[in-house]
Amino acid sequence: MHPAPSVIIFTVLSGLGFGLLFFLCAGVVRPFGLDAFLVWGFAYALAIIGLAASTFHLGQPMRAWRAFTQWRTSWLSREAWASVASLLMSAPLALAAIFGGALPVFFEMVAAAMCLLTIFATSMIYTQIAAVPRWNFWTTPALFIVFALTGGAILSGLTFLSLILCGTLAAVLWVSFKLGDGRFAARGATMGSATGLGGLGAVRQFAPAHTGSNYLLREMIHVVGRKHSQRLRVLSILCAAVLPALVFLVLPLGIGAIAIALCLHVIGAFAARWLFFAEAEHVVGLYYGQR
């Protein structure tokens, strides 16, 4: 799949933003006054910049409001609802933290759950695609949720939780790479089944349907740049999980340590998300003799 910058920025930043909002809503960290304004503001900025980036992927961005209509079947529509609901429910909690005041714990928990639900809905946009076997697997929601929680914990300066989540993230990343490699074969789609000719004998492409490029080749059959995937896998696990954990272990907790850990984590997150798209193979490639 084509690793479009708009969807990579969307999933990384909104994941990070809703991950931080989750810890803020749940009251795991409780900044007050100016601190609260900066921290809640940062979470909102990440989430909103991410959501705005997703509209750059659209052919008709002015009609984006229509994406709210099909929540009964479409995960993209559910994601739209969940993200708006999370941002709206977080608002009174943010105001209470900045100006003083308190809301019932029940409300805090519902708002926090809504943030998690948003991240889950984002992951399901990709997980539901059976034609991309690597995505169509439990590792996709696991990866999105653990990424968001790890980023949120680092931003919240929660040392112990960050260490546990960094360890979990490294494991989930490794498992998603390893199991992901076997997913296409496990789906069972081959050039033989795609053309229905496999029963006759070995099928190979004789002549392509067109000599120029097209939307399918650009969007679904992106093979450029996979040659560095092994190095990027190591880089993503190191930067997203291992190094931030080391920073928290070595440096004294403070704005400096959080900033360094966050920068490393975000670099790793972008590398991992680039791989998430670039390594995903769509079954339509079988018609073109490519994956």
Partner: protein, 245 residues
Amino acid sequence: MTQLPAKTEKKLGLVIDLDTCVGCHACVTACKGWNTANYGAPLSDQDAYGADPSGTFLNRVHSYEVQPEAAPAQIINFPRSCLHCEDAPCVTVCPTGASYKRSEDGIVLVNEDACIGCGLCAWACPYGARELDQAAGVMKKCTLCVDRIYNDNLPEEDREPACVRTCPTNARHFGDLGDPDSAVSKLVKERGGFDLMPELGTRPVNKYLPPRPKDKPAEVSVLAPLLDIETKGFAGWLDRLLEKL
């Protein structure tokens, strides 16, 4: 709505005969022509006369080589377009309701006025049947020529999809695959029509007919060139003479 209808009254679709398709691409051209001049956003081309031409097509013809174990290799031309699946994954993923399956005849269509061009339906389709038009920014797909098949302004023989109407070898057939007595259903039964990628669970309406087995060439020993063939008559005399020289 992007909810799939529980049942459609008809299952209109195509039956494509891989035995008779000669790969002339007339269906590709007829489709592009009709769907550019008629319903919906035209099928645009980018850099059509330049170094890197590309464009939107709703039908593409691939060519494959099949090598059976004990028979000569075969070339098979393979038209690929929307299969109007009964469990169409492109419909349910649509966030706006632009993508829908009609309950009356099962045709999968896009309401171009509601499409936001997110491309998710094209991702969901295993068959590459949908292409996002780069000029219009909306998703394009086979409409089964919905503006031809019900069009009373056309002569009756033209009320079928443009690809079917134009096919010079009658490799494409159009009809109701939900009616077991229809000509297309009988054809599928007779010739053993099959689904593409059944393992994806999309239950395509369109069916493909397999190529018929080809004749085998007369059995000739693979050692023929090495056999010592005895020559007779004039050739034999010449053979002996030349050897003596």
